[in-house]
Symmetry: C2
Subunit: 191 residues, 2 copies
Amino acid sequence: MGRLEDICQVAERLFSERGYHATSIRDIARKLHLQGGSLYAHISTKEDLLWEIVRRAAEQFLQAIEAVLRQESDPVARFRGAFRAHVAVIARNLPAATVYFHEWRQLSPQRREAVLQQRDLYEAMWREIVHGGIEQGVFRPVDVAMATRAVLSVANWFYQWYRPEGPRSAESIADELSELLLAGLVKEGQS
Amino acid sequence: MGRLEDICQVAERLFSERGYHATSIRDIARKLHLQGGSLYAHISTKEDLLWEIVRRAAEQFLQAIEAVLRQESDPVARFRGAFRAHVAVIARNLPAATVYFHEWRQLSPQRREAVLQQRDLYEAMWREIVHGGIEQGVFRPVDVAMATRAVLSVANWFYQWYRPEGPRSAESIADELSELLLAGLVKEGQS
DNA sequence: AGGGGACGCGAACAACCGTTCGTTTGCTTT
DNA sequence: AAAGCAAACGAACGGTTGTTCGCGTCCCCT
């Protein structure tokens, strides 16, 4: 089954660099020294390939935040952990994350709906973190939905500018960004 | 010249909804009750159409922040003004802004380069705002590049979730978001 | 040793792509 | 009324798209 993995990996790279519709099945095949039609021994549809990439990425985001929520209970620790985990998922697999954020609209209506449902669930977990911080008096009483959107904006936009060959590690960047966001959330006094 | 404007408007909508490569010249023509080939009396290339949309959007962002920098000098006022202006450009022309952020990579290498240069210039102006705030002792001594990236993440991601038919006005949202970001930047004491 | 299944080839498919072009239409100007 | 002109038609172009399929070829299992 190593071949399918190879195909996915090449597809991730090309889809992320050129976009889904600007990448042909023959482009993917060429990078593997194969003929276009040969890919259909391993995949059944070009869209299935996109779906596989998007589905896996979505799964990783969910698993990452669930692990944090399971292990941490303090709002600030949860916030830092979830932010760091989100950034790590992107950094660990930048092409797949890029495809996830950029190309999910090209999926069929049903699959698009599934992505949206997963995204809503993910955002609800983040809102829970923010809500918990306010309820425990650690965060200022800001609008939960709006603050969550701001946080996720920074977290999601990360894929647009992060480059692994850059000078700073993803963890170091994640910590600095989450510190900046926390400063806007936490009540004046202690961090 | 009204016809070209019609074409641009339809192209903005379709490109933003389905993506550039998923929209054919015939799709655009159909919405105008025209034949595919008829568009070529007004445009010279499909890519030229995309370029026109992207170019105009980029221009609006630049003009908006330049006006703010010209009128305001206080760092906090500049920050609030620039953020509000950025969000207003997106809200005022959501389809074009969506195409700008989402499809600029599909342009030719030279035009892509021009977009990048403009974006760098825009970001430099934002860094100038943050830098000025720190220098005057109004903002905490954060990393200018990183803080600017965080702010622009929230500002740019706005197009992904803002819907004009929603309950809150773009200005009200912009003010709340910029307040949240400012709280993370400003030194403890006064706002 | 021999049979079977996975894998890859390469030609072919219908559909669609962006773009061109000769022709027709219909309005405006003289 | 005639001439001119921009706009739209509609057929056609060469190329590319995703996908199919019959055919070999190689390796693994018994």
